[in-house]
């Protein structure tokens, strides 16, 4: 095997340190046991989320038939799709502008500014966004309704979409684009025929990350959304206030399944190398 020489010697390998396995298992337990319990009780025939009686899919049937949940799911999807499309497009442009240009003054600053929202506490962004839309409404009389939520989601999804796209661009050999230019391709055709096709896995990864982030958001949505603009997480939060039923577990489990699906795709596409 070619990689034998690079393998860490056993004495230095963290895996063989005493207690490694137990600590790892404890971490996994703390992370996933609550989720496992939630999924488990979504199949409970009883009304209780702590006492198991027997297996049933009733709560899923109920959840899917619930008009409130249906509406919330549609709203969530509308917002997430809008945010994904726009955030990914903007992030792709930003990634190109910070990797496919000669170094310019302020490039590092641009990179920092793009990623800053990841570091700002979400509640700050939420309050700021709320104030911004309030200002728009009171001074200019502009209110986009659900559009407000969509715009807010687009904005906070940009850095999440940006990171995998930029990573992909940085790993891409610049001489490929030079070769295209050498073979009479104009900058636009170089982008269309060489850069973009090779960038696709990064763009898809960025889009899926943006989609999940938008789908899961609570804090900013809660501040910005008006009446009747309930997304799925907001709906679940509202239900819990009236006591947890296995119906909430069922909706949460569906949301979880969607997330896992996307994370898996994200992982697989990230691994695919050209």
């Amino acid at each position: 095997m070619a990689d034998t020489a690079h393998r860490t010697p056993r004495a230095l390998d963290l895996k063989y340190q005493p207690g490694f396995t137990s600590v790892a298992m404890l971490c996994f337990f703390v992370l996933y046991a609550p989720i496992a319990v939630l999924v488990f009780f979504s199949f409970n025939a009883n009304r209780s989320v702590t006492r198991w009686t027997e297996f049933s899919l009733d709560w899923y049937v109920r959840a899917l038939a619930n008009e409130g949940i249906q509406n919330a799911a549609v709203t969530s999807l509308e917002v997430a799709v809008f945010a994904t499309v726009f955030a990914t497009s903007i992030a792709t442009a930003a990634a190109l502008a910070t990797t496919r240009v000669a170094r310019y003054r302020g490039m590092t600053a641009a990179y920092t500014v793009i990623n800053m929202p990841l570091m700002v506490p979400e509640i700050v962004t939420a309050v700021a966004t709320l104030s911004f839309f309030a200002l728009l409404r009171t001074t200019l009389g502009i209110n986009f309704g659900l559009g407000n939520v969509m715009i807010a989601h687009t904005v906070f999804c940009i850095p999440f979409a940006y990171l995998p796209i930029r990573a992909r661009l940085e790993n891409m050999d610049l001489t490929l684009e030079q070769a295209a230019a050498d073979l009479y391709a104009t900058p636009w055709r170089t982008f269309r025929r060489v850069t973009l096709p090779l960038l696709v896995p990064g763009v898809i990864a960025g889009a899926m990350l943006a989609f999940i982030i938008s789908l899961d958001d609570v804090i900013i949505t809660m501040m910005v959304a008006g009446p009747g603009q309930t997304t799925l997480p907001i709906y679940i939060l509202g239900q819990i206030r009236r006591g947890v039923t296995p119906e909430v577990n069922a909706v949460s489990t569906i949301l979880l399944a969607v997330s896992i699906l996307f994370v898996t795709l994200f992982f697989l596409l990230g691994r695919r190398r050209t």
Binding site: D173, Q178, A179, A181, D182, L183, Y184, T186, R189, V194
Partner: protein, 352 residues
């Protein structure tokens, strides 16, 4: 041409006043150690870099301010830079398609190119499914498909193993002959440069030190660097006693006077450096007054030749290469006292 990278105190003069004229249909090589500016010069011709000063002319028309996609030159990259998401055929067709050739014309050209580089069976493969040598051929075909006025080759053979490299050297010469395109070839391998080129420009530290045919460069290096970089060389000190055009009479420290070749701009009188190739001298048994006398320190057998490493009387090292003859005993042994015999015109006066 001048190319300066960086600014302020952190300036690198990658090319410093380089001026070259390359003939049509020539196999022209830029030879030099890494960092000498040869690749920068190639990138300036391709249009990937902009010169800080100077001009690039093709048939009298300036290319200097054209973007790479408007220049009638194509490049074979050191890393090949094949498009990994396209098949061999699509790679070769790329330039033709960008220039707006019809589908049938493109297909004809691609087939012709696949034939030229002997890859007709592999057209449907992706670059990742090809060996290094095959990728190299695709890169060559892709660049040649457009019949460029000038083909730029950036160390194209450096990633291949020795045997394949030798094969590709012959292939490249054949393709150069068959296509009649001007080749500008960049390499740091002096052997490759000597065997393949019509003319060579030897570069160091952003300057072109000498331009000439492989024979000129090897037989008549004009500077210390060129003499040292290409082949093996002994350096001696001497004094110019008479000068006549391209030749000069020099007196060696031992007092012997010999005719030597001299570059036009070398010193007309006074002390000079001299270069002499190890195979251009002979050895004779025992010391002689007035000759370069020394003792054999080491012998290295090469099959066709034997190298004798001498220590001269003045303490300098000197190497002599003698051809081996069938069945003959080596004429000298370690520890022998010998005299180095230098014929007229074997010595080369250096500029520096």
């Amino acid at each position: 041409m001048t190319k300066v990278f960086g600014g302020g105190t952190d300036v690198v003069r990658a090319l410093d006043g380089v001026s070259l004229g390359i003939q049509e249909n020539e196999f022209f090589t830029l030879l030099g150690p890494s960092g000498c500016g040869k690749t920068t010069l190639l990138r300036l011709i391709a249009g990937f870099e902009q010169p800080s000063g100077g001009e690039i002319l093709l048939d009298g028309a300036s290319l200097t301010h054209l973007p790479p996609f408007r220049r009638p030159v194509n490049t074979v990259f050191q890393s090949y830079a094949l498009f990994p998401h396209m098949t061999v055929i699509d790679n070769i067709a790329f330039g033709l398609e960008m220039r707006g050739l019809s589908k049938t014309e493109t297909a004809d050209h691609v087939a012709e190119m696949l034939d030229l580089v002997k890859l007709s069976d592999l057209g449907k493969r992706k670059p990742g499914q090809l060996s290094g040598g095959q990728q190299q051929r695709v890169a060559l075909a892709r660049a040649l498909a457009n019949h460029p006025r000038v083909l730029l080759l950036d160390e194209p053979l450096s990633a291949l193993d020795l045997k394949l490299r030798k094969e590709m050297q012959i292939e490249l010469k054949r393709i150069h002959r068959d296509t009649g395109i001007t080749f500008i070839f960049v390499t740091h391998d002096q052997g490759e440069a000597l065997t393949m080129s019509d003319r060579i420009a030897v570069m160091n530290a952003g300057h072109v030190l000498q331009v000439g045919s492989p024979t000129e460069i090897y037989e008549h290096p004009t500077s210390h660097f060129v003499a040292d970089f290409i082949g093996e060389t002994n350096f001696l000190e001497g004094e110019v006693v008479a000068r006549d055009g391209a030749s000069a009479k020099v007196r060696l420290s031992s007092g012997v006077e010999r005719q030597a070749s001299a570059p036009k701009d070398a010193a007309a009188a006074g002390r000079v450096s001299l270069a002499i190739r190890p195979e251009r001298v002979t050895l004779s048994q025992s010391r002689q007054t007035g000759a370069l006398n020394g003792r054999v320190e080491t012998m290295v057998y090469f099959g066709t030749d034997t190298n004798y490493h001498l220590r001269l009387e003045d303490g300098r090292a000197f190497m002599v290469r003698l051809q081996n003859h069938e069945g003959a005993q080596a004429p000298f042994a370690t520890g022998d006292e010998v005299a180095v015999e230098i014929a007229d015109h074997a010595l080369q006066v250096l500029r520096d």
